[in-house]
C-alpha cells in the first residue's frame, strides 16, 4: 500500500489564503450595508448622496425627539420580549413533546409546527385580523404578540429539536437507572443540556419579532405601531437619515444583547448545537 503524495506546501498555503480571503469577503459583504447605514446616519443631507458631505448628529436628535419613533422603539422591544417568552415556552415544550413524547405522526406534526414559515406573513396577518374581527376583540396588544409568537415558534422548535435529536440519550438512561423519575430526569438532565438550543431559538424569536413587518401591518393599532412599520411609513414621506439613526440605535442594542448572551450563556455552546 502506497500513501498518496501529500500536497506541496505552496498549494496548501494558497488554499488557506483563498479560504481566508473568501471568508473575509463574506464578512465584508455582511457588514457593508451596516457601514453605509452608519455613514448615512451621520450625513446631514436629507436624501441618498455619496460621497457624504459631513458629520452631523441631527438625525439622531430627530429620532430621539420623535415621540412616534420612541413609542415605536419601546413597543417593539416590549412585543419582542413578550414574544420571546411566549415562543420559547410554546416552542420548547412542543419540541420536547415531539422528541420524547412518542407521539404518532410526529413528523407531520413537526411539519405543521414549522408551517408558519412557509406562508407569506402578509396572509397570516390578514387572516389573524379577520379572526380577531370574528372574535370581536378589535386590535389588542395581545393579538399582535400572538401573531409574532406564531411566526417565531418554528425557530424555537427547530433549534430545540436539533439539540434533542442529537442528544446522547444514554445520559437520560443513566439518570433513570440511578432512580430519578421521568419528570425529574427532564428537569435536571434534559433541560439543562437543551439550554443552548432553547436559547438559540429564543434569540431567533427576539430577532424575528423585533424585525417583523407583514404580520404587524394589519395588527398594529393607531398610536401603537412597531418600529419596522413606523420606519416603512416614514420612508414613504421622508427618505432621510432618521432611518439611519434608528438603525444605528437598533444595532447598538443588538450588540449589547449579543454581548450579554456571550457573558451569561456563552455563545460557543451554540457551536455544539
Amino acid at each position: 500500500m502506497t500513501t498518496a503524495p501529500s500536497t506541496p506546501r505552496l498549494t496548501l498555503r494558497l488554499g488557506r489564503f483563498c479560504y481566508l480571503a473568501l471568508n473575509v469577503a463574506v464578512v465584508v459583504f455582511l457588514l457593508a450595508p451596516i457601514a453605509i447605514v452608519f455613514v448615512f446616519a451621520l450625513n446631514p443631507t436629507p436624501y441618498i448622496q455619496f460621497p457624504p458631505v459631513g458629520v452631523s448628529l441631527r438625525w439622531f436628535e430627530k429620532f430621539f425627539a420623535s415621540r412616534d419613533f420612541m413609542n415605536a422603539l419601546w413597543l417593539s422591544l416590549e412585543v419582542a420580549a413578550m414574544t420571546t417568552i411566549a415562543a420559547t415556552l410554546f416552542g420548547a415544550s412542543a419540541a420536547l413533546a415531539l422528541a420524547r413524547g412518542g407521539l404518532p405522526g410526529s413528523r407531520v406534526i413537526t411539519a405543521i409546527m414549522l408551517s408558519p414559515l412557509m406562508l407569506p406573513a402578509i396572509l397570516t396577518g390578514l387572516a389573524l385580523f379577520q379572526t380577531y374581527v370574528l372574535l370581536d376583540v378589535g386590535r389588542p396588544l395581545w393579538g399582535l404578540v400572538l401573531g409574532h409568537t406564531l411566526v417565531s415558534i418554528p425557530y424555537v422548535v427547530r433549534t430545540t429539536l436539533a439539540v434533542l435529536q442529537n442528544f446522547d440519550t444514554r445520559l437520560e438512561e443513566v439518570a433513570r437507572n440511578l432512580g430519578a423519575g421521568p419528570l425529574r430526569t427532564y428537569f435536571e438532565v434534559t433541560l439543562p443540556l437543551t439550554k443552548p438550543g432553547v436559547m438559540a431559538g429564543a434569540v431567533f424569536a427576539f430577532i424575528v419579532s423585533f424585525d417583523q413587518f407583514p404580520v404587524s401591518l394589519f395588527l398594529v393599532s393607531p398610536g401603537r405601531e412597531t418600529l419596522p412599520i413606523t420606519l416603512f411609513n416614514y420612508l414613504k414621506f421622508d427618505l432621510d437619515g432618521t432611518i439611519g439613526a434608528a438603525s444605528v440605535v437598533s444595532i447598538l442594542l443588538a450588540v449589547l444583547v449579543v454581548f450579554g448572551l456571550d457573558r451569561t450563556v456563552g455563545l460557543r455552546s451554540y457551536a455544539k448545537l
Binding site: 441618498i48 390578514l126 374581527v133 394589519f218 393599532s221 393607531p222 398610536g223 414621506f237
Partner: protein, 351 residues
C-alpha cells in the same frame, strides 16, 4: 446543580391572563370619559401639522379623543371590519380609493350638507358628480423636473416620451398609485381619443420604457432631489413643498392640462359618532384650518373663501378660473376595469 425553567409556567399563564384582561379592559375605561373619533392620515409634514396643531385644537373644542391610523393600507382594514363597527369613522384617502370603497358599501356617497355647513363654500369640483364625499384639498398632477441638468424646455406631457430622458424618467406603479392611474388615462387622451382610450394608453406606456417606477409620491420627491430622476410625473405639492430650500427643481403644468389629485373625506355608514365625524369634516373645511394645511404642504384648498399668503396664492389653484382647468378622471369607470388594466400594465412594465 439543578436548573429550572426561567419562568414557572403557571406564573407566566397567570401574569399573561391578568395582562390580557387589563389590556382588554383599558379601552372600556377610556371610553367612559370621552367619545373617540377614528380617522386616517398621512405622515410627513401633513401628519406633523395635524398632530401638533390641528388635532389637539379639535379635541379641545369638541371634547373628544382622536385616533389617527397612519399605517397603510387603510381600505383593506376597513373592508375587513364589520359594517356595524367599522375601524374608522372618517376615511381620508384619494378619489380612486373612495370610489372603490363606495362600490364595496363601506363609505357613504354624500356628505350631509346640513351637518357640514362649510360645504356650501367649496369649489364645484369638490362636490361634483365625479366625487364621493367631499374633497378638502387638491393638487395638480403634472411634470416635475431638474433645472440644472441642461434639459430643454418642457411644456407638454409628450416631452416625457423624449428619448433624451431615457434613464432619468420617473413614473408610478399604476396598480397601486392614483397618480399613475390618472397618468395612464391622460396618455389615452394625448395619443388617442380621450381619457378612456385604453388601447392608445397601453401603446403609449410601451414607448415610455425605460422608466423608474415608484409606488408613492414621497419616494418620487426624493428621487428628483437626489438626481436619480430628472423628469417625472408628480403633483405640484411634491415640488413646491421644497420652496425656499434652493432646490434645482421646478413644476411644469403641461399645456394639455393637469389632472386633479384629490384628498377626500367620507363617513362610514356604521360610525357610532356621526355628529363628531361631521364636525370633523366641517372643521377640515374651515378657512383657517384649510389655510394652515395648505401652506404647510402646498395643497390647493377646496374652500373658495380661503385667503392664502401671496407666495402660495401665485402657485396654487385658488381661483375659479384655475380650478376650472382641473381634469377629474372618471374613477368609477376606471375601478370597474382595474383588474384587467393592472394585468395589462404589470405585463407592459415587467423587466
Amino acid at each position: 446543580m439543578t436548573t429550572h425553567l426561567p419562568l414557572n409556567r403557571r406564573q407566566f399563564l397567570a401574569t399573561s391572563a391578568a395582562a390580557g384582561i387589563g389590556v382588554l379592559a383599558a379601552p372600556h375605561i377610556a371610553r367612559a370619559d370621552a367619545a373617540t373619533l377614528r380617522i386616517t392620515g398621512w405622515g410627513g409634514k401633513w401628519g406633523q401639522t395635524m398632530s401638533s396643531e390641528l388635532i389637539p385644537a379639535f379635541e379641545k373644542e369638541f371634547k373628544c379623543k382622536v385616533e389617527t391610523d397612519s399605517a397603510f393600507p387603510y381600505l383593506p382594514k376597513l373592508q375587513a371590519s364589520p359594517r356595524s363597527a367599522p375601524v374608522y369613522d372618517v376615511l381620508h384617502t384619494n378619489s380612486n380609493e373612495q370610489w372603490a370603497a363606495l362600490e364595496m358599501g363601506i363609505v357613504e356617497a354624500k356628505i350631509d350638507a346640513k351637518q357640514v355647513p362649510n360645504i356650501a363654500d367649496v369649489y364645484p369640483y369638490a362636490v361634483s358628480d365625479k366625487m364621493v364625499g367631499v374633497c378638502i384639498f387638491t393638487s395638480a398632477i403634472g411634470l416635475g423636473m431638474r433645472t440644472d441638468k441642461g434639459y430643454g424646455k418642457v411644456s407638454s406631457w409628450k416631452d416625457l416620451w423624449d428619448r433624451a430622458y431615457d434613464g432619468v424618467r420617473g413614473g408610478y406603479v399604476i396598480p397601486v398609485n392614483s397618480l399613475g392611474q390618472a397618468f395612464l388615462m391622460m396618455s389615452g387622451a394625448l395619443f388617442g381619443n380621450g381619457l378612456t382610450d385604453l388601447d392608445a394608453a397601453y401603446a403609449a406606456m410601451e414607448k415610455l420604457k425605460p422608466i423608474k417606477l415608484v409606488d408613492f409620491t414621497g419616494t418620487m420627491e426624493k428621487m428628483i432631489l437626489s438626481g436619480e430622476v430628472g423628469l417625472a410625473v408628480i403633483h405640484d405639492s411634491g415640488i413646491l413643498r421644497y420652496d425656499g430650500q434652493n432646490q434645482p427643481t421646478t413644476f411644469v403644468a403641461p399645456s394639455e392640462g393637469v389632472l386633479s389629485l384629490e384628498q377626500v373625506l367620507t363617513l362610514t355608514p356604521g360610525t357610532k359618532v356621526r355628529e363628531l365625524a361631521n364636525a370633523y369634516v366641517n372643521y377640515m373645511l374651515r378657512p383657517n384650518v384649510q389655510k394652515t394645511l395648505a401652506e404647510s404642504v402646498w395643497y390647493s384648498p377646496a374652500n373658495s373663501k380661503v385667503k392664502l399668503d401671496d407666495k402660495y396664492n401665485e402657485k396654487l389653484l385658488t381661483t375659479p378660473e384655475k380650478v376650472a382647468k382641473l381634469i377629474q378622471p372618471d374613477w368609477k369607470w376606471y375601478n370597474a376595469r382595474k383588474d384587467e388594466i393592472d394585468s395589462r400594465v404589470n405585463r407592459i412594465f415587467r423587466a
